[in-house]
Symmetry: C2
Subunit: 253 residues, 2 copies
């Protein structure tokens, strides 16, 4: 076992709509003397992906629906923000004062449908939605990096989610390419030859969480982290949806 | 920002009841040329802590209670194992065929109250309970390492827990010493000067998850991971209980 290393790629500029994120990363990695390799994993915060894909919404252009106005009454949040949240919502899961937790139409459960009001820009009326298809974003970024550098590292798009039972957000994978996200240890013999039963590991989420330690919560300047020394199962037909527990097997909804 | 590095400490022998875990770690780290430092974090899997503390139970010595027999009917599990699980249970949260999820008397929610039937030994009747007080285990280990090496790294005792909504277990901190486990970013200005609101980060859990990537699920030979390059808030009056969400603020119980 070698060391597992998380290296922030330095000097990535502030990302703007239309930017070629792959080129920004390849250039910054090259300037830092970090030659990407096929067995690397690159973790990219959703925020820079969303910015490059221009997922900004100006709240001044949003007319809240009846439902958004109702939710504004309960939560105390801006009804226009709630309208944007509802665009990306499959189902509202919990609503309280100052809080709305939804099942995102991408399938995961999170606060505010991932719509972000901080670190977005000097415009107070600007919010940022998640990438429309984070798996596709990861695949495109991976292909672009391969085009520019010859190497195709696995790519994880991460975000910070709250969770039941425990305090504090944790990095999770919301999109990915090139790596199998859940490791299945069922049937592998353990140290004494017994069979491990029912053990699957949230592998991609653990990588996403680790990268969040490096990014810091405000991701000021460290939106991309290079992970080196990880043995992972490569995969092409993969999706962050594979991490989602099917509703019928979820006891906590 | 420097690299964040996770290094497994090699050649830790199989831990047996009564072993001096601090001495085993200090010796193995020294032999590997890894000089512990005050700003390191050491992540130790609960299994070796439990083994050193002789938290083994032989199921042949256990007489199941009425409640354990009832739960055996529902789950299909060994009633003696359920009796041991009940010893460490504050409240049964969910019961299904092949599944029991409880609030452990230490406060966290997990399957089987953390009682482990795999990787325990050649005796099929042997199970392993969690350390009686994982915070105290972490504090003792930290003090012992300081005694032996002069350095007092922060210590996290981790375990792998399942979670709602998402597939796969993830490493979490169940005991700790020397580091503040939840980072509070509330009120820190973000990149554009806004105030981040309600943002706390599950810092210790993210470290525990990252270390689990290195340990592997079966922890064969990598039960201790040295984390270097992490900026953390040191703390003395700390506990993994600080990670637990108070029940009245938990919407998913």
């Amino acid at each position: 076992m070698t060391d597992l290393t998380f290296t922030p790629i330095p000097d990535i500029p502030i990302v703007r709509p239309g930017d070629d994120l792959g080129a920004l990363i390849a250039t910054a990695a090259g300037a830092a003397g970090l030659a990407l390799q096929n067995d690397d994993v690159l973790v990219v915060t959703q925020k820079v992906v969303s910015k490059a894909e221009n997922r900004f919404v100006c709240l001044r252009d949003v007319t809240p629906s009846r439902r958004a106005l109702d939710l504004a009454g309960t939560t105390g949040k801006d009804p226009r923000l709630l309208e944007v949240i509802l665009w990306d919502t499959a189902e509202v899961v919990r609503v309280r004062r100052d809080l709305i937790i939804v099942e995102h139409r991408l399938g995961f459960v999170c606060a505010n449908a991932g719509v972000d009001h901080s670190n977005v820009g000097p415009e107070d009326d600007l919010v940022l939605r998640l990438p429309a298809d984070p798996d596709e974003s990861a695949r495109r970024l991976r292909a672009r990096l391969c085009e520019l550098t010859g190497a195709a590292p696995a790519v994880i798009v991460n975000d910070s989610h709250g969770r039941p039972w425990r305090e504090g957000t944790e990095g999770v994978a919301i999109g990915l390419a090139g790596l199998v996200p859940v490791q299945d240890l069922r049937g592998h013999p353990d140290l004494f030859g017994y069979r491990l039963r029912h053990t699957t590991v949230g592998f991609a989420d653990q990588i996403a969480a680790a990268a969040s330690l490096v990014m810091g919560q405000t991701d000021e300047g460290w939106p991309v982290v290079l992970v080196r020394g990880l043995v992972y199962e490569p995969g092409e037909n993969v999706s962050a949806r594979q991490i989602l527990r099917p509703r019928e097997r979820d006891l906590f909804r």
